[in-house]
């Protein structure tokens, strides 16, 4: 395992949105982020690796390619794209991507879930971690928050976009549907919501626990423009996010239903709800890291 060789291409950039990265570069970053995730949850023997690994490609695409954002963090984020993580339990991927895009030192990832850390188990603003704009963890609130932030942007004549990621299990929460009803009604068309459709929740498959049926049909019936994509194929994902941006400004919010594998990138974690909230042991960590190879790993 490569412990500390500094890799400038992922560690020290401060203006990630200014140069367009190649898919190959993004894949390298995604592998590094996945290494961070498994090491973070292993270190404290807690946290949620499954969904974090599944959503790694999305967060890498957003922070290293799609979004205009500034790691010199301001809460208001005027003239920036904003991202909200509604399913806050996948904080490891959020923290890694924020650190790797320059919001705070990568070395701080070592404090994840430990006492006196800014990297709380679920994202929070209380400790002032740059990049986090609202606490999340209790599910179902992020879409409403994003709708509010998007409307504030409209009032401020700020034409940037608001992104929000939700889990599919999270759609069990009634509040999601309050916001889903509201956003088309008020023509909140500077909003791209993304659902991580990995088909798993804590107690089992979403089909078994609370069948979501056709999410496309549901959101279309509510008045959303809906796209479907592969959330673990960076090229397809980026194309879909770019297409989603083209759909903005037409009076409707945009929903991206993104199919992912829980645990993507680590074969023994993939596709099973068992890795929703369980950390790998020492042996499993080594096995995972062997699968997540990076040319110049810069593990914290």
């Amino acid at each position: 395992m490569s412990q500390s060789s500094p890799a400038a291409h992922v560690q020290t950039e401060t203006q990630p949105a200014q140069r367009e990265r190649s898919i190959a570069e993004l894949k390298q970053i995604a592998s590094q982020v996945r290494r961070d995730i498994v090491r973070m949850v292993h270190a404290v023997n807690s946290g949620h690796p499954g969904g974090s690994l599944g959503c790694t490609d999305l967060l890498v695409a957003l922070y290293f390619r799609i979004m205009k954002h500034n790691p010199d963090f301001s809460m208001e984020g005027h003239d920036e794209d904003l991202f909200f993580l509604s399913n806050g339990h996948i904080s490891p991927v959020f923290y890694s991507v924020l650190a790797r895009s320059g919001y705070f030192p990568v070395s701080e990832l070592a404090t994840f879930r430990k006492l006196n850390s800014r990297l709380q188990g679920h994202p929070a603003t209380e400790e002032g971690l740059p990049g986090v704009r609202i606490a999340s963890g209790s599910l179902g609130q992020g879409l409403s928050v994003a709708v509010g932030a998007a409307q504030a942007k409209k009032l401020n004549k700020d034409d940037r976009t608001v992104y929000v990621l939700m889990g599919d299990g999270e759609l069990n929460e009634g509040q999601v549907w309050e916001a889903a009803l509201y956003a088309p009604h008020r023509q909140v068309d500077n909003l791209i919501a993304i659902v991580d459709r990995n088909g798993q929740q804590i107690d089992g498959s979403t089909k078994e626990i609370m069948n979501l049926g056709s999410l496309r049909a549901k959101f279309e019936a509510f008045g959303w423009l809906v796209l479907e994509t592969d959330g673990n194929d960076l090229e397809k994902l980026i194309a879909s996010l770019e297409e989603a941006r083209q759909l903005l400004g037409q009076g409707q919010p945009v929903m991206v239903l993104m199919d992912t594998q829980m645990g993507a990138g680590v074969d023994f974690m993939m596709g099973s709800h068992k890795w929703h909230g369980v950390a790998p042991n020492d042996e499993q960590l080594e096995k995972a890291l062997q699968q997540l190879l990076v040319e110049e790993a810069s593990d914290y």
Binding site: E76, T125, I134, Q141, A146, V147, G148, Q151, A152
Partner: protein
């Protein structure tokens, strides 16, 4: 006992509506959200004059609270409006996570608090809201006593950075505080200086305390009456100063005994100056249908209840 002249009785919710409309004119960052109760909350004037800053969210309070939190991120100062019941109990988790824990500058404006909501009954008469909001870290909790004070409080909280719970009600009550008052969050208002007992009242019970003060004066009891419009942060200095002078205390509020103003004062006295305390409040019970006056009487929230509490507490005085 001082006189408290007034020219008319008005509802505190109208004071909120007037204050909000004023803010619309003076602060372009103020936005208002309402969950299908625009008329009840007296938000019509704001809606009419500032339609682009008014957000009708329908009967969806959870969405309203989290959305308000999101709007603060763009520098807006959202005022949410619905009944106190739907402003607190229904959305406690949204307030806790998205507003209080996240330190968001949302003003939760809550009408129809307490039994004076009247005929709709206990489903709508919340008596636990001050307690719930008071327990939340970062939350400021305000319960003004009349139209003028509610208007002044509404304007004042826009200047205060951080989450605020502002509680007011439906019935008309004497509008006796000055129209030009400076509302200072966390600063108790001395209404009548007295030597025998300290009465700390909040919200609709402030006027009842004044009426009680007159009855007590006839009995030769010199009551000190203080308006505690801010439940949190509590003006501990003012309360202790008065209690140390009179050596006995009565609290009065349209709220459960558990969790409200009396509870706050009990904590303070137990820590700093153990003195006898009697609480005029609802005693671990839900409300019911009836007229506001009937309910205030049945649930022990009238001036004669304050007088009785004063007599009890004075008998315990050492």
């Amino acid at each position: 006992m001082k006189e408290f002249p007034y020219s008319e009785s008005k509802d505190t919710r109208s004071g909120f509506g007037a204050g909000l409309h004023e803010l619309g004119k003076t602060n372009e960052n103020v936005v208002a959200l309402c969950a299908d109760l625009t008329g009840s909350l007296k938000m019509d004037a704001f809606k009419k004059d500032f339609p682009e800053r008014f957000f009708q969210v329908g009967i969806a309070e959870a969405n309203m609270m989290s959305m308000a939190a999101g709007m603060t991120i763009g520098g807006k100062i959202p005022f949410t409006g619905t009944f106190a019941n739907f402003s607190t109990g229904r959305v406690y988790d949204q307030i806790r996570q998205s507003i209080a824990y996240s330190g968001k500058n949302v003003k939760i404006c809550a009408s129809h608090a307490g039994v004076t909501l009247g005929e709709d009954g206990a489903t709508h008469q919340i008596l636990e809201d001050l307690g719930m909001m008071r327990m939340l870290p970062h939350m400021t909790v305000i319960n003004p006593c009349d139209f003028n004070q509610t208007k002044a409080a509404t304007i004042a909280i826009a200047e205060h950075e951080g989450p605020v719970y502002l509680r007011f009600g439906r019935p008309v009550v004497p509008n006796f505080t000055p129209a030009d008052q400076q509302f200072e969050i966390g600063k108790a208002v001395m209404l009548n200086e007295g030597a025998d007992v300290s009465i700390f009242a909040t919200g609709h019970l402030v006027w009842k305390a004044i009426l009680a003060g007159k009855l007590l004066a006839e009995k030769g009891i010199d009551a000190e009456i203080i308006n505690i419009h801010t439940i949190k942060p509590l003006d501990a200095a003012a309360i202790l100063q008065s209690a140390r002078k009179t050596r006995c205390v009565v609290s009065a509020e349209e709220h459960q005994m558990n969790g409200g103003l009396g509870d706050s004062i009990a904590q303070l006295l137990a820590r700093e100056e153990p003195l006898p305390l009697e609480m005029v409040a609802v005693n671990d019970s839900f409300g019911e249908s009836g007229t506001p006056d009937q309910l205030m009487e049945k649930y022990g929230l009238m001036e004669n209840d304050i007088v009785a509490a004063v007599e009890r507490v004075m008998a315990r005085k050492k």
